[in-house]
């Protein structure tokens, strides 16, 4: 992080104060994203931030880039259109677990499959926060939500595994508790030429935290510390010690042809054969 980093220059200060509750992790992720943009010296005029609906999706309104706040579940579909229309733009989708994996689940699958050069940052707070705490596909089984007052009966989805198997070429899982590593993951995701997913485990002390007796934001960050293990550390640990732990770090990074480039190739071929 450069010493001269001034977060305000990337923000629409007239939109402040933000709507997030005290202790929310959204601001921490937004800050990590801005530090990543600053480290890479990206031109804000060439960055497009697209978001869906939910607490985390309010990020697009606060960022002084090109921003598009869309409908629930569809930011990847809008982003795909933007990226195809102008592949030189840096297209980033910042959204939440409900938006990305429930109502927007199919767009998530097909963006991974195409390996389109978009960076998807999912702030996973395990809950629909904006509508008051309903369980999402990433809410752990047994957890409490307003729609699961006696515990969630549905098993959770591992969106990183889904992304990897569907074809995403950079998949990482970070935690708000580790802002520097979170920033590093976002930098690598932005640099990856292909579809990148950075899932950030975040804290919602107001709904998820309160309903699951997880304590305040500090307690929830401590929970992250105690219940997550990095890939590196996990490699040295016995399977029994890993039981119930969530693995963080860069889970997958590989090369596959990128969608807009493949598309450009088809255009070139068609034009050459027409001449």
């Amino acid at each position: 992080m450069p010493k001269s980093f001034n977060v305000n220059k990337y923000l629409r200060m007239d939109k402040m104060p933000h709507i997030w509750c005290p202790g929310c992790g959204n601001g921490m992720v937004m800050s990590a994203f801005l530090r990543a943009v600053d480290s890479l010296q990206l031109d804000p005029n060439r960055v497009v931030v697209v978001s869906g609906i939910g607490c985390s999706s309010r990020i697009s309104g606060y960022l002084d880039f090109n921003t598009l706040h869309t409908t629930h579940g569809r930011p990847l579909a809008f982003a795909t259109g933007i990226k195809l229309a102008e592949p030189t733009l840096e297209v980033v989708v910042i959204t939440g677990d409900g938006d990305a994996t429930a109502i927007g689940g199919n767009h998530f699958l097909h963006s991974c499959r195409r390996n389109i050069n978009i960076t998807l940052i999912v702030i996973n707070n395990y809950i629909y926060g904006m509508t008051g705490g309903q369980y999402s596909p990433l809410t752990h089984k047994g957890d409490f939500a307003t729609t699961a007052p006696y515990g969630n009966v549905e098993p959770e989805l591992d969106m990183c595994k889904v992304a990897e198997s569907a074809g995403a070429t950079y998949v990482a899982r970070g935690v708000t508790y580790k802002p520097v590593s979170m920033e590093d993951m976002i930098i690598k995701a932005l640099e990856n030429k292909g579809f990148s997913l950075v899932e950030i485990l975040s804290q919602c002390p107001v709904y998820y935290g309160r309903m699951n007796k997880k304590g305040d934001a500090v307690e929830m960050l401590k929970w992250q510390k105690e219940n997550t293990v990095t890939m590196k550390a996990a490699a040295q640990m016995a399977p029994s010690a890993l039981k119930g732990k969530i693995i963080t770090g860069v889970l997958s990074s590989r090369y596959r042809p990128e969608y807009t480039e493949e598309y450009e190739n088809v255009i070139q071929q068609a034009q050459e054969s027409a001449q």
């Binding site: 609906i53 706040h69 409908t71 629930h72 579940g73 429930a102 109502i103 689940g105 629909y128 904006m130 509508t131 008051g132 309903q134 369980y135 596909p137 307003t146 729609t147 699961a148 007052p149 006696y150 549905e154």
Partner: protein, 399 residues
């Protein structure tokens, strides 16, 4: 007439609807959260978790899936319900036509919220008006009491053998949904008796009578005839809505018709309005009448089917009518949906009032008494002068 025992409660609109759903005790509810609807299903899910209902509650992954699940449940012969708002209703769009086209009874409270863009979570009627032609019956509510009453009656209307159409119960986002209101609720047993048991005409689960639902009927099939029957069912709904409203009145002391008129007999001009704004309009109309101004009002309850004959009868003696619309049709100067419908209905009428349209409250813009007074005063001038200066007006627009 024996009025059934009731309990006086203070509930938000969403809680009143959740209570009605609990008392209806549907076989299945499938839903997805959206502001300002969420608290209906959230409240209902507590009843499910506490074992107070026998309902299968399915927390699906989008409204599209919610309506799909309801169609499945209703096809299997179940009494099904869901609730939504705004973008959620818009996402259900293709399924709305399937529910009505398959003639599947179901009830869906829709908490009216505007449609994006720009993003706005507040009240107007753009969402349900967008589904105006989807073949659903639309019942508007003025407050929590009416939202509760309409939800109970909707079950009977929807399942009536001469109707068999889905019903939307509409309540204004935040203004009704999130405001605490004094209301009367019925005893569980009274509701149970009133809504009775759903007797489906066909059921996929009836193995002795195999049924084919919704299959491709070909170019030379009966698609056109199905659609004509749907329209016939809508026409039948007028009488059913009135009959059920009358029976409900005998049970509760709160009778319902297709609309509620106030002061029309001796009025020279009147305002027509839907939803929560009716309360504020009624207040202003009362104030003006106490000053001797000959104004009346109609609160429209049934918007689809559109009670044209009754409205013509009610307004044709007036000199002028102002229709208040909380949505626009964007038809290039035709006005809001209630205005265009009523103008069209009056075309053949020998005696008809001059008509003006006031589009108000889009995206939750407030409708204070002063604005109603402004419109009513302009309406009085129209009635007196016999001339309409501005047909389509936007009330409360920032200058």
């Amino acid at each position: 007439m024996v009025i059934a025992k009731s309990n006086t409660l203070a509930l938000q609109g969403t809680e009143a609807v959740a209570l009605a759903m609990k008392q209806i005790n549907p076989d299945m509810v499938a839903a997805y959260p959206i502001t300002p609807q969420t608290e209906i299903v959230q409240g209902f899910s507590q009843f499910v978790a506490d074992g107070e209902v026998d309902t299968h509650l399915v927390n699906v992954e989008s409204e599209h899936s919610a309506m799909s699940a309801c169609i499945g449940g209703a096809s299997a012969g179940g009494r099904v319900m869901t609730a939504t708002s705004s973008q959620g209703l818009a996402l259900m769009w293709e399924l709305l036509y399937i529910a009505s086209g398959l003639r599947l009874p179901m009830v869906m409270p829709n908490v009216n919220r505007t449609l994006s863009a720009p993003i706005n979570i507040h009240c107007d009627h753009s969402d349900s008006m967008g589904a105006r032609d989807a073949g659903w019956i639309h019942l508007f509510s003025e407050n929590a009491q009416e939202a509760y009453d309409n939800t109970l009656q909707a079950v009977r209307i929807s399942e009536h053998p001469q109707v068999r159409l889905p019903v939307m119960v509409l309540l204004d986002g935040f203004i009704i949904s999130h405001s605490l209101d004094r209301m009367e609720s019925l005893e569980d047993s009274t509701v149970k008796e009133f809504v009775d048991v759903f007797k489906p005409e066909f059921s996929l689960l009836d193995a002795k009578t195999p049924t084919c639902i919704g299959a491709f009927d070909g170019l030379y099939g009966y698609f056109f005839e199905f659609k004509r029957q749907q329209e016939e069912a809508m026409r039948n709904a007028f009488q059913v809505v009135k009959d059920v409203g009358k029976e409900y009145g005998e049970l509760t002391g709160r009778p319902y018709g297709v609309f509620e008129a106030f002061g029309l007999e001796d009025a020279e001009f009147a305002i027509i309005v839907l939803g929560s704004a009716a309360g504020t309009v009624r207040h202003e109309v009362e104030c003006m009448r106490s000053r001797g101004i000959p104004i009346g009002m109609i609160k429209l309850r049934l918007f689809r089917p559109f009670p044209a004959n009754e409205l013509i009868e009610a307004v044709s003696h007036l000199k002028a009518v102002a229709v208040f619309d909380r949505s626009d049709t964007f038809a290039g100067g035709m006005g809001g949906p209630v205005f265009t419908d009523l103008r069209s209905a009056l075309y053949e009428s020998e005696k008809k009032p001059l008509m003006v349209n006031y589009i108000y409250g889009l995206g939750g813009r407030d409708l204070p008494v002063e604005l109603i007074n402004k419109a009513a005063t302009e309406l009085e001038q129209v009635a007196q002068s016999g001339q309409v200066k501005e047909k389509i007006n936007y009330l409360g627009l920032k200058e």
